[in-house]
């Protein structure tokens, strides 16, 4: 107040020099500009829609969609509603992302560990893989697998077959020089005993044996699930007991018995109810079995090999980030190498690996939208492709798709911050 009375002339400007008032004023102006922009956009949108006579709203979701989809995980017929189309597409996206994530993780961990191998050649090979894959565009790789590799595959009659039997037969052919001691004949008879491989690859896709569902099979599956639950409970119980009393329990062997032994015994008792129905070549195509679309196969190969190169780098960085002193200290405490890895090194490496790994999973899921380029019916290509073309509801459809991917991203990041908070080092 004293300052004000000394400089009465500056009073009107004094408020403008107050940082708090100034900050509020700036923000209000910013907010007004943004709001005005949004209002203009809304005006334009409604005027344009009226001019082009496009109905707004999500009413189209209940209307029948007049197109077929060549891979559906749930029942779908031409003429089902667009809401159903959305669900079919979403499930297809989740399928390709899920399968891709499993393969990418396996390949990524293998390559990442191989890069750290003491073997010079193996380390170089893994480095070459990472450099090659990371420096080529993903869309290039997807189209390469789809057009150049799967497009060049033979017709169903000349399908490539995979499995031990064709491998043995091929080996028998190569070893025909050993005819005298009967090696090829032995290999062939083993191959015959194994039966047809049941896995075929041709230009119509990848054909796998289909599991036959029987009541006995369901019982065995139920026993397997119960075994898994029991093993998890057993692990918790033994850890608590060890913490309390120091007595140890052979959890590994017991869990193996519960998870593998019990279902195996049950299936032997019930007379091998779990069987695979192998596909058979009849005429020009296969009957029975599960056929995976070539688009699906190309997309899974490209997405998993591409993401694996990034996961390999994440894994390598995570392992290198655990200081040597940690494993040395573990050795000094008398832990065996396996225990030191499992109890000391891996948990610390995982703390570093998991957040960027989740990020890679998210990238893979977002990248699965490139399916649109080769025509795999994922959410993006059935909804933003076919449905958008037919209904013309560009704004609603793109908004729905963006919302779905945004929701997946946000859920993942919420999960990650929860995980980070849980595993954070308790620093002094």
């Amino acid at each position: 107040m004293a300052a004000e009375s000394q400089h009465p002339g500056r009073r009107p400007l004094a408020a403008f020099y107050d940082p708090k008032i100034r900050a509020t004023a700036y923000q209000l102006v910013f907010l007004l500009v943004v709001a005005w922009g949004c209002y203009q956009v809304a005006l334009n949108v409604s005027a344009n829609l009226e001019n082009q006579r496009i109905a707004t709203g999500f009413g189209f979701l209940t209307e029948p969609a007049g197109f077929a989809i060549n891979q559906t995980l749930i029942a779908y017929r031409e003429g089902d509603s667009y809401a159903r189309v959305f669900l079919v597409g979403l499930l297809n996206t989740l399928l390709v992302a899920g399968v891709g994530i499993i393969f990418a993780t396996v390949i990524g961990f293998l390559v990442g560990i191989a890069r750290l191998s003491p073997n010079w050649l193996l380390a170089r090979l893994a480095t070459g893989y990472v450099e090659l894959i990371r420096n080529l565009p993903l869309l290039f790789q997807i189209m390469f697998w789809y057009l150049a590799v799967l497009g060049a595959l033979p017709h169903p009659r000349q399908s490539l077959s995979f499995g031990f039997a064709p491998l043995l037969q091929g080996l028998a052919e190569k070893l025909s020089a050993l005819e005298g001691i009967g090696v090829p004949a032995l290999l062939n008879s083993v191959a015959e005993w194994l039966g047809p491989p049941g896995v075929y690859l041709n230009n119509r896709g990848l054909i796998l044996p289909e599991p036959a569902v029987t009541t006995g099979g369901m019982v065995v599956l139920a026993i397997f699930a119960a075994g898994v639950v029991a093993a998890l409970w057993l692990r918790r119980w033994s850890r608590r007991r060890q913490d309390a009393t120091g007595r140890r329990f052979p959890v590994g062997r017991a869990a193996l018995l519960l998870v593998v032994g019990l279902p195996l015994a049950a299936s032997l008792f019930l007379g091998a109810p779990l069987s695979m129905q192998a596909p058979e070549l009849r005429g020009f195509n296969f009957v029975g079995g599960v056929r995976l679309l070539p688009e699906f196969v190309a997309l899974v190969i490209a997405l998993s090999t591409y993401t694996a190169a990034f996961i390999a780098e994440v894994v390598r960085a995570g392992i290198l980030a655990v200081p040597r002193g940690q494993s040395e200290a573990a050795a000094a405490l008398g832990l065996r190498r396996g225990h030191a890895l499992r109890l000391i090194v891996v948990p610390q490496a995982l703390r570093i690996i998991v957040p960027p790994l989740t990020n890679q999973y998210l990238n893979l899921t977002k990248n699965s939208t490139l399916a649109a380029a080769i025509g795999y019916p994922d959410l993006f290509s059935v909804f933003a492709g076919s449905a958008l073309n037919i209904t013309g509801q560009a704004i609603e459809i793109i908004a729905i798709i963006m919302a779905v991917y945004l929701a997946i991203s946000l859920l993942t990041s919420v999960g990650m911050s929860w995980y980070n908070a849980r595993i954070q080092l308790a620093e002094r």
């Binding site: 900050a23 090979l125 390469f144 958008l388 991203s409």
Partner: protein, 381 residues
């Protein structure tokens, strides 16, 4: 006192010689010992060699030995006609080369594209060499003057140059235009977004966070679809907006969000003392940021920025999904040409595209590595 019991000393009495990287024959001996130490290691080496040979040998045969180097039509690339196994059909690339580079840009105007390419290279190369002089002038030329020059040259309609629609642009031209605009237009926006995210003003920081996370949360194709199909609805009805410009807007917003996060990392690494020093000198917010903080932050994150540019360069291929034919799109459409329909056409096209994409991305990633090593010498974080 210390000399009385040297054996108890915890400090090494003599300096330990630094480990030197073995050279020449010694180096090869180390490599060999890492290949054939122990039975398991030998097995791993043999398996790796087998994998390498089965991958490398057919690739080299396809690209070089079995390749057809000159020819006039598909007949020269047919196994039945030539009578030997056929690798890459390079005449196919030669015949289509102009289309891969310029799309359907009018033939007699292609010198304009070439001028733009050469001018860009002349400005870019000294910019990348840290010791080259006139950095400020050079940067001004590359980031401010060059876009205007390239715009006039490529679009035309001024100075006696005939107008060329963007509809006929294609191939490498589109790839480079998208990459360049994606970098140059999004960088200033990204700096503003990064500053906004670090701002003390709650409304500004929360709105920038929403903006950044929105674009980072959605796949690029949805952004391209948004730009192609939704953006026209947002503008007044009598405005028409070029298809390429729409895609450029989408790419710029998308890459600005990613670059903003990279730059934010650099801003966070600037010590408090820098802000306090600037405040002590009486600098206001914009002067503090523009003269003190942002230049240092950008220098810290050059490797991260280059990595984002590589990602952008690779992502430009996605525009073929919204019917703009970049290099990959032109190559794919060339597969349908009946004059060059052979069993090796598709693989040849992929080999050509793959070499170009790999060479550019790999060179950029090596440059990022080089800058990282160079910058590491004067940064202590």
């Amino acid at each position: 006192m210390s000399s009385a019991a040297p054996e108890r000393s915890y400090v090494s009495p003599a300096p330990i010689a630094p480990r030197v990287r073995p050279r020449g024959a010694a180096r090869w001996r180390t490599v060999l010992s890492r290949l054939f130490a122990g039975p398991l290691n030998i097995v791993v080496t043999l398996l790796s060699a087998a994998v390498l040979a089965t991958l490398l040998w057919p690739t080299l045969r396809f690209l070089v030995w079995d390749a057809v180097w000159d020819g006039a039509s598909r007949v020269d690339c047919l196994e039945e006609a030539v009578g030997r196994p056929i690798g890459a059909c390079w005449p196919f690339i030669a015949a289509r080369f102009d289309q891969f580079m310029y799309g359907f840009y009018p033939e007699f105007q292609r010198w304009r594209v070439n001028t733009v390419y050469w001018a860009g290279l002349l400005l870019l190369i000294p910019l990348l060499i840290p010791s080259a002089p006139f950095k400020r002038l050079n940067a001004l030329g590359f980031f401010v003057v060059y876009p205007a020059f390239a715009y006039v040259m490529l679009v035309g309609g001024r100075f006696g140059l005939p107008f060329v629609e963007t509809r006929v642009w294609g191939g490498m031209l589109i790839t480079l235009v998208l990459t360049y605009v994606g970098i140059v237009a999004s960088l200033p926006l990204a700096i503003l977004l990064a500053l906004g995210r670090r701002s003390n003003l709650p409304i500004i920081s929360s709105m920038t966070i929403v903006f950044i996370e929105f674009w980072r949360g959605v796949p690029l194709i949805t952004v391209l679809f948004f730009a192609t199909y939704m953006l026209p609805f947002f503008l007044p009805g009598d405005w028409s907006i070029d298809a390429l410009v729409r895609v450029l807007i989408g790419v710029t917003l998308f890459s600005a969000a990613y670059l903003a996060e990279v730059i934010r990392g650099g801003l966070q690494a600037i010590p408090r003392g820098q802000f306090e020093g600037a405040a002590a000198l009486g600098l206001g917010y914009w002067k503090t940021m523009g003269l003190v903080v942002v230049p240092q932050a950008l220098k810290h994150v050059i490797p991260g920025l280059v990595n984002s540019f590589i990602a952008l360069f690779k992502d430009t291929t996605l525009v073929l999904i919204v019917s703009i034919f970049d290099l990959l799109g032109q190559i794919r459409s060339a597969f349908a040409d009946p004059n060059w329909a052979t069993p090796v056409t598709v693989l040849t096209g992929f080999a050509f595209a793959g070499i170009i994409y790999f060479v550019v991305s790999f060179a950029m990633s090596r440059y990022a590595l080089f800058m990282e090593r160079r910058l590491n010498t004067d940064i202590r974080l």
